[in-house]
Symmetry: D2
Amino acid sequence: MSEPHANARAGDLAFLSGPRGHSLTVKLTPGERVQSMHGVIQHEDIIGREWGTQISTHLGTIFTILQPALDDLLRDIERASQVIYPKDIGYILLNLGVGPGARVIEAGTGSGALTVALAHTVGEHGHVYSYETRDKAQALARQNLQHLGLDARVTLHLRDIGEGFFEQNIPAIFLDLPNPEDYLAQVRAALQPGGFFGCILPTTNQVSKALEALKQHAFGFVEVSELMHRYYKASAGRLRPADTMVAHTGFLIFARRLAEGLHAER
Amino acid sequence: MSEPHANARAGDLAFLSGPRGHSLTVKLTPGERVQSMHGVIQHEDIIGREWGTQISTHLGTIFTILQPALDDLLRDIERASQVIYPKDIGYILLNLGVGPGARVIEAGTGSGALTVALAHTVGEHGHVYSYETRDKAQALARQNLQHLGLDARVTLHLRDIGEGFFEQNIPAIFLDLPNPEDYLAQVRAALQPGGFFGCILPTTNQVSKALEALKQHAFGFVEVSELMHRYYKASAGRLRPADTMVAHTGFLIFARRLAEGLHAER
Amino acid sequence: MSEPHANARAGDLAFLSGPRGHSLTVKLTPGERVQSMHGVIQHEDIIGREWGTQISTHLGTIFTILQPALDDLLRDIERASQVIYPKDIGYILLNLGVGPGARVIEAGTGSGALTVALAHTVGEHGHVYSYETRDKAQALARQNLQHLGLDARVTLHLRDIGEGFFEQNIPAIFLDLPNPEDYLAQVRAALQPGGFFGCILPTTNQVSKALEALKQHAFGFVEVSELMHRYYKASAGRLRPADTMVAHTGFLIFARRLAEGLHAER
Amino acid sequence: MSEPHANARAGDLAFLSGPRGHSLTVKLTPGERVQSMHGVIQHEDIIGREWGTQISTHLGTIFTILQPALDDLLRDIERASQVIYPKDIGYILLNLGVGPGARVIEAGTGSGALTVALAHTVGEHGHVYSYETRDKAQALARQNLQHLGLDARVTLHLRDIGEGFFEQNIPAIFLDLPNPEDYLAQVRAALQPGGFFGCILPTTNQVSKALEALKQHAFGFVEVSELMHRYYKASAGRLRPADTMVAHTGFLIFARRLAEGLHAER
């Protein structure tokens, strides 16, 4: 994820968008070539070109070249497994108070979609600590982070957080696990006083359990919400919502660590 | 917006949350005091305290003290005027590809809510260029940015963007104006090849006009969507959506600058 | 609720719509008059007029006169207490298989909004049996039904349904009570084989309890859903959703009575 | 659509629900048999059985038998073509003031889903006048109505409504056509003073055109809305919304015919 610039350079990630939604992301490397069902493109034919222009395969199929957006990269990761959606990620980043230079913990790592978004957002002066118990998932996340050049900003722990976090005094912790209620003591131990907690849960039963536990562990300013994202057909003369949409990804819970014994509400 | 830390320090912004939703944000300054209908708190009684603890006014009313989240600060700004909502801001940041070190243009500045979010996200090595024609709005935005210590990251221009932007080769531009279709030539002139464009519009008629103009000005990968944000009552035993919700803030449009003459769709 | 016709007649319900959303419904009676903050209208000045025309009070304020829609009447009842919303009522009627000539049970009666809709829908050859334990609520419902001339189609029982329903072999039963799971044995005893069951519940905890009980009592084809109703500003040139909306009324559950021991799913 | 009763009779419509969502609706006729990929069931083996019980094919596959709900029948019709959804139909019936004994006009007939719902709701003493220009669509609708025994309540006209409606002084008219703005003079000519008008339109551009025309033709109390219907997984211990949902069917517009020259708003 290099800085945005006007012309494609060696080492850049390039997003190639072809006919009928066919797209792929490649790292531009002199001497390599893109193979697809639509034909071949030499990386060297892309390097030096202006972003937003078009290029043809040897079979004459046209692809448009762009620097990928974070959103495009997340969608690529998304295809590999059940991950957190872009609509939720933007809101999560905002509600965890995460910005350049921030330190943040997440568990579990999964395929690394949120890890990528966090690493992007904390920048080179921040750091992400990400916990996972399944080594295969961790390996996939590591690969995704390396591919995007974000691995130096992330420490990947292979560890059950029931045994506690290694870090202390961290400003923000996010759990993407089915049972956050089982880890709130560990979260308190690692979280700064007043720090930000968040989690995402698919079922209402899980939300009820998490709410009960948050109360018992002196978290306050608890907020539960969900985001429904509806796309429209982008036609000036026939503007209308798309026929179908994602109805549910998860319920988002955010809270603040208060001093023991407090239960303040917003 | 200082780094998160465990104890309140002089110079910090402090969010004080009292009974029945009464809250306020102050910059902690030795010698000053908070006056409210619930009584007085000396800033010096807050400084040094752990975040997430409680403090009493001279009348015995209890307030909880926290470092404000970006979301809290945006809500404060929001009260002053019609601004972009947090639910939309997170998604806008993600879709403009904005992160640490980024340069980005927005117009109009308004009361500066999105300006604050952008300045927070680009960090001290990035920069925001924000255009506004009404000097009163600009003054309010400047005040909000100074209050949050973000003014060094933002250049506020008092200028009609119909006359063009001062900057060139900028990776991302966002317009919060009723008629983006009138400024797309200027946007192209300032935007990097392949760069990110976004806007927010309340009515479907405006969306139709913008879509028509985006096509004529060779923007591609156009996406139109809306986010519906539904809060829940955070009660473990009586979990249910809130009674009412915001039904609409605006339709979000995102697009990429393509080379002249192209109309690629995602 | 007389048949729709072209001109206002003595005995008709008339909906009078005045300035700034001020409206009222009256039964047209020679010799009576409408008193409002906007002045006086004689009923005799309305009788004989075409529906959809306008009439002036003695102070010169203009009112438009219409035969009330069922929806208008339900909104009037709605103001008096927490009732089932029109958006839900239409879907409930459809899913209970209720039409002209049908017999249907509901509990509790409440202020009678759903009772009115059911009585309207079953017509003069059908019948509604409505149970309530609070005599004040029942009295209000009776008054609403009489006002609309629908009381002959409804039997109002003052009885705790825990003691069972008086009727048997009824094709459809709807419960608007907080704890439907406590009455499913009674529902089975009164409901026709294969008959329609429905209920509305505000919290997810209640829905979980009801689902568990429906399974135990051999109800199948269980459907849980919610309807979100979003109004638009009806402006041709500035079309957009309203600013706020009702976020939640209740979760709707529908099921069919199966033979003992069966758990078929749709 | 015979009256609900406890046991299956010859002549009844029977809804047979088998494994993995496989279902079909048949009219019970002595001597006939149901053929499916799961085996054969003799109609005579169903006749006399209690609804809500189960029956086995000659191959041992189990089907549950029920009297179909109107909703089930509409879903069957729905499969054949683009029709109005149940979520919208309930609300349409309520807002047109349609009940037992009512007379109502609709255009176009399409495959007859709304026609069926209207005919069911007006009962044997009401009547539906339905206009269509395509004879194939009309033939399909006629077949659907006959299959359900509702054809005596419906007059099917093969006619372009631009030439006007045959009926006059009708209390309610619903248009399911792409260009209702072209027929409002004809609607006024057929509609009772104060009568109910409704239409459904997929795009915002169409809504804007219809709103403009309604104003010009002295319709008032105009309401524009949409219904979003979200299903839940009916699991007591894992309650959550379904993964995907229908995002859009159409915008619903309702209005009342006022006297010429009036523009009253609710």
